[in-house]
Symmetry: C2
Subunit: 343 residues, 2 copies
């Protein structure tokens, strides 16, 4: 398979070709990290990347790739297999985080970049950035890992496994052979709602919603609908998500996170990290993160302390849990800016 | 509606009729708390209740009631409405925790008990015990609340709302009109798996399962099945649960927990607790509990400190999360025993 890889760039590659920063995304975003002349719509990390932003496109050549296996331009289960002229669907091979990292290296090859200034990864992308740094030690000088980890733990695996089963149990999934005009919407919505529970925090919701009642009425036609505002919030967000993301792609990427274990590279996490040739690393974790708990951020930082000359570990007290890097800009922007101000 | 209420008893009511202890269960157990001459099978709290156990049937007259709305003998949505000769199903009225508490008072009326030595409640039953103590201040001298709270918070509401939606989305649910020979098994299994995630803790699973692989094979027939032991564990437990519990009863009891707010009795939690006439109270919370977090246990204890002469608040470092009261007997037995040794 010769995959298509969709990416966007901001800023200019300098003459020395040493100012490139590659951003690996979480499970669901596209390569559209920030607005640009070509696409002025706001990106998923609009406040973080662009001219004079913490990831400053005046200084750096920023690259953001749509993950291999996703459905926003890069090859994935929803793509057409040129050999059969049919969508891959479940014939797409098992996807690993390392495959996404290798796709990142392909993008750099195409751009003629042999070494990055930095690799930045958020959530699943943090796993990808670590895999990239282990697979290609010479290709990045530094690593920023945000709300990620060196391997998946059983609690996160259980949550993702249930999300996948919710999608698979939707009769509309049809063992992956759903018409693209009629995907398993209910399964995707429910999986997304469960995702929201794991992406945010109990403390945030207590503050935002408390026991506020929903304005939605429960009728005899719709028993057991929504009594509380938090339920309406989940419904609203799930509706926004559904339609944009292909269910089979979701299954593949979700499983890739479960399968990731940096220890596969050498037999232990320590052996894997011994391969790194990083000059600097920044690990950011959030204290309220349920999915990538702060102990795992500490574990990653401890591993890096042993092999990287300059390691910064920041723990954020953000209330927004795993999603904090998308919303708690007041805390995240200065930390990222500081790391990239370095010279 | 004149509900049937199923209960079991252990020990003897003394001549003064003042040694009765009423136990309110969590969402899913029956009244069979411990073995007895009539039913020698092990109960759901076998290590806690019986002769010479912490809840000592040699000293106390123990009563455990199957919750109103449940399906193990007490009237609930799976019962037959004598007026129509059909199962109630969704025609069963909205169930509140207070209804279960009132059913407890009915049981006491039938037994000729005007005042309990203690009310003991676990999880949902702790909410019920608090409701009982607020509704009938003169009917209990003490209260034991284990892994419960004075009201539901949005994080727990969200999880339970998703569980209910999972069941409702199972086509076999048929808007509650499923044949009792073919209930929505897949929905119930998935809801139970999500329940397990909220009942245990990430730390426990990390210790028990780590990244151990499942022996179950993923085949082409069953793509996206189980790669990890934690997934097989969930499957095993979900299979055990399904079949024993009626889906509509589950929906009613689950919603009752969301709806409970002790502040409904007087306008605030403080006003509600001002009604209490308890001599003693014991609040037990578990530090790893996701569903009834330790802050909520602290909140309840603080409320009781203001109005009850003797309050004990115990925080348990158990790894087993919300379920610890069922499994961490080494920690729970001595605390319960100590409370009931009191004279």
């Amino acid at each position: 398979m010769q995959p298509v890889l969709a990416y966007e760039t901001w800023g200019e590659l300098n003459a020395e070709r040493d100012n490139a920063v590659l951003v690996f995304t979480g499970l669901s975003p596209s390569a559209h990290m920030a607005c640009s002349a070509e696409d002025p719509s706001a990106g998923w990390w609009e406040d973080m990347a662009g001219p004079d932003k913490p990831l400053d496109s005046n200084r750096f050549f920023l690259i953001c790739m749509n993950s291999l296996g996703s459905c926003f331009g890069s090859t994935g289960p929803a793509s057409i297999d040129p050999e059969t002229n049919h969508h891959y669907r479940l014939n797409f091979p098992v996807l690993c985080i390392e495959d996404i990292a290798r796709a990142g290296a392909e993008v750099l090859n195409g751009l003629g970049i042999s070494q990055l200034y930095a690799t930045v990864g958020v959530s699943m992308g943090g796993m990808t950035g670590l895999a990239f740094s282990i697979l290609y030690p010479a290709r990045t000088r530094s690593l920023v890992s945000i709300s990620a980890s060196a391997r998946a733990r059983p609690f996160a695996i259980a949550l993702r496994s249930i999300q996948r089963e919710i999608i698979r149990r939707d009769p509309a999934w049809q063992k992956g052979r759903y018409p693209y005009t009629a995907p398993p919407v209910n399964g995707m919505k429910l999986a997304r709602k469960l995702g929201m529970v794991s992406y945010r925090s109990a403390a945030e919701w207590q503050q935002r919603f408390g026991r506020e009642r929903s304005t939605e009425e429960t009728t005899e036609e719709k028993p057991f609908r929504h009594d509380f505002e938090v339920e309406s919030y989940l419904e609203h967000h799930a509706n926004r998500f559904v339609g944009s993301f292909d269910p089979n792609c979701y299954l593949y990427l979700s499983r890739a996170m479960d399968l990731f274990d940096a220890a596969d590279h050498g037999g232990s996490l320590e052996a894997a990290c011994a391969r790194l040739e990083l000059e600097r690393a920044l690990v950011i974790g959030v204290e309220t993160d349920l999915l990538f708990p702060i102990e795992q951020q500490q574990e990653l930082a401890d591993l890096l302390y042993d092999v990287v000359a300059e390691v910064t570990f920041k723990t954020m007290p953000s209330l927004q849990g795993h999603d904090a890097f998308l919303v708690d800009m007041k805390r995240f922007r200065p930390v990222i800016a500081e790391f990239f101000r370095h010279e």
